[in-house]
Amino acid sequence: MYDIRLEGVTKKFGDFTAVNNINFTIPKSSVTVLLGPSGCGKTTLMRMIAGLESPTNGKIFFGEHEVTNVPTRRRNIGMVFQYPVIYRGTSVRKNLELPLLSEKLSKAEIDKRVDEVAEILDLKDVLKRFVEELDNGTRQKIAVAREVARQPRIILFDEPITNIDLTSKLELKRSMKELFGRLKQTIVYVTHDQTEAMTLADQIALMQDGVITQSDSPKEIYDKPNSQFAGWFLGNPGMNFVPPEFIKVSGTKITSPLFSQTIDLGSKAASADTFGVRAEGISVSGTEEKGAVQARVTRKALGAGGQYLLDLAVGSLLIKARVSHSVGRSVQNSVWTTIASENITFFDKSGTAL
């Protein structure tokens, strides 16, 4: 299998730089999700990997082969788009077989590949059905299955779940995860949906303004964002950011009215400008505790799994804390908060993590 190497890849549309000098290797035989807000350049980058756009500058390699100027049909890639591409007026089996027939494979080999992928994607029961009879979620699975059955070395997914109805979304995520676990191919998957990215990715390449700002496993990128942008973009809600007026630096030591401990940041302390803490990184108690900081509860809301999201005011600062159902249900107007040092990420003036 191939890795995908991007060397100084840039794409400009007139004055607008969609992708800005990206140097990056997408590892082989794993799932890399390009994640970012709309306009970050993720789709343009994927389209260049596919050969649907040419870079303004830079080179693209599949393994050792440079493909910068190789047309799409000769790149040996599979592609799945937002809207399922299916052949109407024919059965699901035919839909999966068609590209294989043109590759002059034996009947036995074609059957083997179709049955295999139908098994993984749970399409066995619908192989004889006409595609018109099936819902959009199943049609998208057919589009996925057809690309997988061709066994290209690289498969590109461009927001394949975005336009699928809510009820089929979960089933598609489930079957994609199952599929990705079995495939040996290099997968590149574009989405703006953090849950999809965190669920499916081996590594997330987070993009902003045409560059990849961080690439890491879902856990790493969530736990250790390298920028305020990553801290904000991942998480629902994103990280709390505490502004400079709530931070006091003396030598290598940092204190704040938000926590009672003193944090030694060594030589990095001088650059500390703000800090971030995730909502679940703040411990909340309804009763006074030694060393805890008192906060006022301004709002309560519920979230996934019955956890409460509390809006807390510490002086003039507003932060959000996620707490268990029982704690959230019982707390009144006043709470006491602590923030463990390992849950605190300091950032410099530019928003880069220290």
Binding site: P37, S38, L170, K173, R174, K177, H192, D193, Q194, T195, M198, T199, P218, K219, Y222, W232, F233, L234, G235, N236, P237, G238, R278, A279, E280, R299, A301, L302, G303, A304, G305, G306, Q307, L309, R322, H325, R329
Partner: protein, 361 residues
């Protein structure tokens, strides 16, 4: 009653033989954020249209500020409206778009100016007033559309699923904006949605809409902790609550989770049980069941863990900081347990709550 902004009583509406609103009643208090929450296909759109006066009712009253407006024309009801689709007039500036409903109602220039300033400040779109819709991002357009709905100075606003289709980060921000707006205006917001996470994040008061009726109305905490029906448990909660068929024999309920001792308020012939995702935990011991682990959906701060027990698909939620459980979930087969009191028993016919779990058997 003076503290009711909206008092809807016995509202009914049918199309031919199809009953869409079925003797529906609810109240919305002044200075409250009320969310009407129900799955698609339960009459939400028709309810909005009847309240706004865009659709006549067959029976019932819609009392706004103490006066029945059920037969009053839309323009005279004095209810603010943020519709679901946010078509802005492309040839008008943002300011003109926001002013438009006021222009229609022949407001003075001074009134319009004051209204625009108020909503532009609240929704942080002051810098955009001179722009045309095509120059705005999706989230900015949505804020302008919400501002247009709120520009009308009144004390009751109906918001019809205004965040549908927006991405995570925009919704996160607009949810805060909407809550802040309601608090600052001290008016009544009646917000309709089929998205349980939105309802959970926004509501102080919740009404559950199911099959053309409001089946439960109470504070968010109460509806969540004490759902009075299957519809109520199912409509409010994320991931959706698990519904389990089973058999009741005396005070023992038996399902794929095994046998649970229950406390019953009445004894219907057929029952089903509901259990919220957080009613489960990973662990062996008394009452534990062998389960096959399916998808782990990574929600950031927690995982929605889908699992299967004897061909029943179920879901639980595990915090990202619960390393012990997450380690166990690496194996495809785990022992899952549940809190007996998380099990709620419903009458299978009426859907009403009739009992609750007490202990493992």
């Amino acid at each position: 009653m003076a503290d009711l902004a909206l008092d809807v009583k016995g509202l009914s509406k049918s199309y031919g033989n199809k009953v869409v609103l079925d003797n529906l009643s609810f109240t919305a208090a002044t200075n409250d954020f009320s969310v009407i929450c129900g799955k698609p296909g339960n009459g939400k759109s028709v309810l909005v249209r009847t309240i706004m006066g865009l659709e006549t009712v067959d029976a019932g009253s819609i009392i706004v500020r103490g006066k029945d407006v059920a037969k009053v024309s839309a323009g005279e009801r004095n209810i603010g409206y943020v519709p679901q689709s946010f078509a802005l007039y492309p040839h008008y500036s943002v300011q003109e778009n926001i002013e438009y409903p006021l222009t229609l109602s022949k407001a003075t220039a001074a009134t319009k100016k004051e209204a625009v300033e108020r909503v532009a400040e609240l929704l942080r779109i002051k810098d955009l007033l001179g722009k045309k819709p095509e120059q705005l991002s999706g989230g900015q357009k949505q804020r302008v559309a919400i501002a247009r709905g709120l520009a009308k100075t009144t004390d009751v606003y109906v918001l019809d699923d205004p965040l549908v289709g927006l991405d995570f980060k925009l919704r996160e921000r607009l949810i805060d904006d909407l809550r802040k707006t309601q608090e600052e205006l001290k008016v009544s917001f009646v917000y309709l949605t089929s998205d349980p996470l939105e309802a959970l994040s926004l509501a102080r008061t919740v009404m559950i809409l199911a099959q053309g009726k409001i089946v439960q109305q109470d504070s968010l905490d109460v509806v969540y902790d004490l759902p009075n029906s299957i519809a109520s448990m199912n409509s409010l909660g994320f991931p959706e609550a698990n519904i389990l068929p089973g058999e009741l024999s005396g005070t023992t309920f038996t399902s794929v989770l095994g046998s649970t001792k229950v406390k019953m308020d009445s004894n219907p012939t057929n029952v089903v049980a509901g259990i919220r995702p957080e009613g489960f935990f990973i662990g062996s011991g008394a009452g534990s069941i062998d389960a096959k682990v399916g998808l782990l959906e990574n929600l950031g701060s927690e995982f929605a863990v889908y699992f299967n027990i004897k061909n029943s698909d179920l879901v639980t939620v595990i915090s990202r900081t619960d390393n012990e459980s997450l380690a166990k979930l690496k194996s495809k087969n785990v022992s899952i347990n549940y809190k007996p009191d998380a099990l709620v028993i419903f009458d299978a016919q009426s859907g009403k709550r009739v009992g609750q779990g007490v202990s493992h058997v």
